[in-house]
């Protein structure tokens, strides 16, 4: 490199180093940290959520902010690397003085949970792992959707009630007393994917299923024919998909191509409009655990969601949007609601925000079932909306209320 070039690089590097030192604090602003994955293995859903959070924050700041105090969003792409999530979280805590954090993956959220509890910093994660819902273990972790484990139970229950018991395809099997057969497709080493498996198998035992061998499918799988063939020997009636759309669509297409002949139930982050776009007819009749209204579906907030999507991030047009934008709005608005309530109580700090979450009683903005959070149960809801893909559309299938269905077991289905 020439001497001048070297000097320019040095000057640029020094500017980069000096930049953070020049950052000055602005009064009356509330800093909110947000960990997102826009470039890592979960970026196929993570990117839209990251954009959606920014849009929702813009909306909140435009409509009165947190009792007049605007929110400063510190959003960071950690690429699904846990060490980077840890240092970024500490940066949010010590350097940016964030009052709360919006989190992302199951692995990093669970890894951060002990630290979060010690720091008393409320953490609202996109991971809805059931592990994070027991306040005795994770007192400062909150989730903004139905927890994975019970949602898996609800999905299986919905298939059992609505398909197995009603569909004429299974009349003959039911008449002969055949037990329904279930196989789980998920990425073994990924906590998000493996989190609900134990609950799923427990529910399968309750409903009298036969459970076949699990199949390991990486999050970035491009070919799962060998797994589908291995599952085919078991002749499953239904397959659980625990991954994200990129890998679920591959599994659906290969299952379709190899004529697996089973129905599908898909985990919360595995099914969206993009799945239908990629998998096409192979996704037909798949049951989806989607708790929110989907993109463009009628709700009080839908016009605002669409308006801000077009205004803030026109780069991702409406035609390519999905329910993930709604995820982001639900996450942001739930956190903002807690901030508002904490601020009204004059306690805009960690314990204060936690107390504010405990005042949520049948709270909703119309995007999801009503949420109730109590000091001994962080599961936001016991009502699980289930959808099914029919004619390339995500149609509502049923709503399973697990508390009503299993009143004696529901209190035990927490924190694992």
């Amino acid at each position: 490199m020439s001497r001048i070039g070297m000097r320019m690089v040095t000057v640029l590097l020094l500017c980069g180093l000096a930049a953070p030192l020049g950052a000055s604090a602005q009064g009356q602003m509330i800093t909110l940290g947000s960990l997102n994955d826009t470039t890592g293995p979960t970026s196929d859903v993570g990117r839209e959520v990251a954009l959606g959070i920014r849009e929702a924050i813009q909306y909140v700041n435009d409509t009165g902010a947190v009792n007049g105090k605007p929110i400063r969003l510190r959003q960071y792409d950690y690429g699904y690397r846990i060490p980077e999530a840890l240092t970024t979280y500490k940066r949010f805590r010590d350097f940016d003085k964030a009052v709360a954090v919006l989190g992302w993956g199951t692995g990093d959220t669970e890894a951060l949970a002990p630290t979060v509890a010690k720091d008393q910093l409320p953490y609202l994660s996109s991971s809805w792992s059931n592990f994070l819902t027991d306040p005795k273990k994770t007192p400062f972790n909150f989730i903004y959707g139905p927890d994975y484990s019970n949602y898996a139970r609800a999905g299986l229950q919905a298939w059992f009630d609505e398909v197995w018991m009603k569909d004429p395809r299974y009349t003959a099997d039911r008449g002969r007393g055949v037990r329904p057969r279930l196989v789980a497709f998920f990425a073994f080493p990924v906590p998000y994917a493996s989190a609900p498996i134990r609950a799923l198998k427990d529910q399968a035992a309750i409903l009298g299923f036969e459970v076949g061998p699990d199949q390991d499918i990486p999050l970035t799988a491009l070919d799962v024919k060998s797994q589908v063939l291995a599952a085919k020997e078991f002749r499953p009636h239904v397959v659980w998909h625990g991954n994200i759309p990129m890998s679920v669509s591959t599994a659906l297409r290969d299952a379709h191509a190899l004529d697996l002949g089973a129905d599908h139930i898909i985990n919360s982050w595995g099914c969206d409009e993009n799945l239908i776009r990629i998998a096409g007819p192979a996704s037909e009749r798949a049951i989806c655990n989607i708790p929110f209204v989907i993109w463009g579906e009628a709700s009080p907030l839908t016009p605002k969601i669409m308006e801000y999507a077009a205004k803030v991030n026109p780069g991702l047009p409406a035609a390519r949007r999905s329910v993930r934008t709604v995820h982001a709005w639900q996450q942001t608005l739930m956190m903002v609601e807690a901030l508002k309530r904490a601020d009204q109580a004059g306690k805009l700090n960690g314990p204060g925000i936690r107390e504010a979450f405990y005042t949520f009683k049948d709270w909703t903005v119309g995007l999801a079932p009503p949420f109730t959070i109590t000091p001994d149960d962080h599961r936001p809801t016991s009502v699980f909306p289930i959808r099914i893909i029919r004619g390339g559309k995500l149609e509502p299938l049923t709503r399973i209320d697990l508390r009503a269905k299993y009143p004696d077991r529901w209190p035990r289905w927490i924190g694992n």
Binding site: G16, I82, K90
Partner: protein
């Protein structure tokens, strides 16, 4: 080769073999200042964030030491080192939770397990070299993390693949390790211990045998070095170092998840020694500091830009990643021998100063 000032000669074998052959007042002062900085200023005056970053640097150093030993000193390219870190971490974690062992004991057992596990995957090195060895070490990654840990280890105690340890279970004697500062001191102790051990190991018969194998294995064998034994010894030592890194990381997170030990982390560690300098212990430190530091500096930059152009923030999230890639390419183009070589040159420049040769 070490440079001595004109007129300074060794008079005993001891001085000839000493780690520091001669020392000026300035160097003594710099070392003392560095010690004060590391032992007092950083942990007691720095923020938790700074300590968190320091701990990640330390974790990266501990993890990369084994990679440096295998690639830089023994010539055995490995792309599966995260597997051995995972064995150490899970060994330590399960030792504490399931068998109720004290942390130091669990840490040692985890490290030994990782060493033995590493020997197992070092066995193919008897017959394979180069790309083929890379494939077998990559197999270690998938066999260990994706298969054995996810399928079998997760069954122990019915905990699943990811779990956390109850607060206060990690203690060194009377001290509970549960804040960044305590983790930092533990990290400092482990890094010092491992580095001193390796520096000295490389000066012994074993270390020289490894270097001989790296430079030319056939010549080394002809000279009577038992290649197979020494290669396995290298894998064992690297595995133990990896296991220590994994066991240490448990203390920093109080949790275990296979997502910590992916192939990406194995590749990252190779990146650390490539940028730092292959075949140099200094390189491990420079590489770890650079790769962790650059991310934090870029993070600060991204946030700064987001303040000025809030609408553009999303787009700048990508720029961080791109700049990072650019930095690596820049290194390969303009500093292929790593940061350690530049450090060597700077040191020599000052030693020779005011002469230019």
């Amino acid at each position: 080769m070490r440079l001595l000032p004109s007129g300074t000669y060794h008079e005993t074998y001891w001085t000839d073999h000493a780690l520091w052959q001669w020392r000026t007042g300035f160097v003594t002062f710099a070392l003392a200042a560095g010690l004060v900085l590391l032992l007092y200023v950083l942990p007691w005056r720095g923020s938790g964030y700074l300590l968190g970053v320091a701990n990640v640097v330390g974790y990266t150093v501990l993890s990369a030491l084994g990679v440096q030993l295998l690639i830089g000193y023994c010539g055995q390219v490995t792309l599966g080192h995260a597997a051995f870190i995972a064995v150490g971490a899970y060994g330590t974690g399960i030792g504490i939770l399931h068998y109720g062992l004290p942390y130091p004991v669990a840490l040692l057992i985890g490290a030994l397990l990782a060493g033995l596990w590493s020997v197992l995957f070092g066995l193919p090195s008897a017959r394979t070299k180069g790309f083929y060895l890379i494939m077998t070490t990559m197999a270690a990654q998938f066999v260990t993390v994706d298969f054995i840990i996810a399928q079998y280890v997760s069954k122990i105690g019915g905990r699943g693949v990811a779990f956390s340890l109850p607060p206060g279970t990690i203690r060194m004697g009377p001290a509970v390790i549960d804040s960044e500062r305590e983790v930092y001191y533990l990290m400092l102790a482990l890094v010092t211990l491992c580095t001193v051990a390796l520096v000295n190991l490389f000066r012994t018969r074993v270390g020289r045998a490894w270097i001989a194998i790296r430079d030319n294995d056939i010549a080394a064998e002809a000279l009577g070095v038992n290649i197979f034994t020494y290669k396995l010894l290298a894998f064992f030592t690297a595995g133990v170092l990896g296991g220590l890194a994994g066991g240490f990381w448990v203390s920093a997170t109080y949790g275990l998840t296979p997502e910590d030990y992916t192939l990406a982390w194995s590749l990252w560690l190779v990146g650390v020694i490539l940028i730092g300098g292959v075949g140099s212990l200094h390189g491990v430190f420079f590489g770890a500091l650079f790769l962790t530091g650059v991310l934090e500096v870029l993070k600060a930059g991204v946030f700064r830009v987001a303040d000025v152009y809030p609408m553009l923030a999303d787009r700048f999230l990508f720029i961080k990643e791109m700049t990072f890639g650019l930095a690596i390419i820049g290194f390969l183009l303009y500093e292929p021998r790593g940061l350690a070589y530049r450090w060597h040159q700077i040191k020599n420049y000052f030693k020779l100063w005011p002469f230019g040769y």
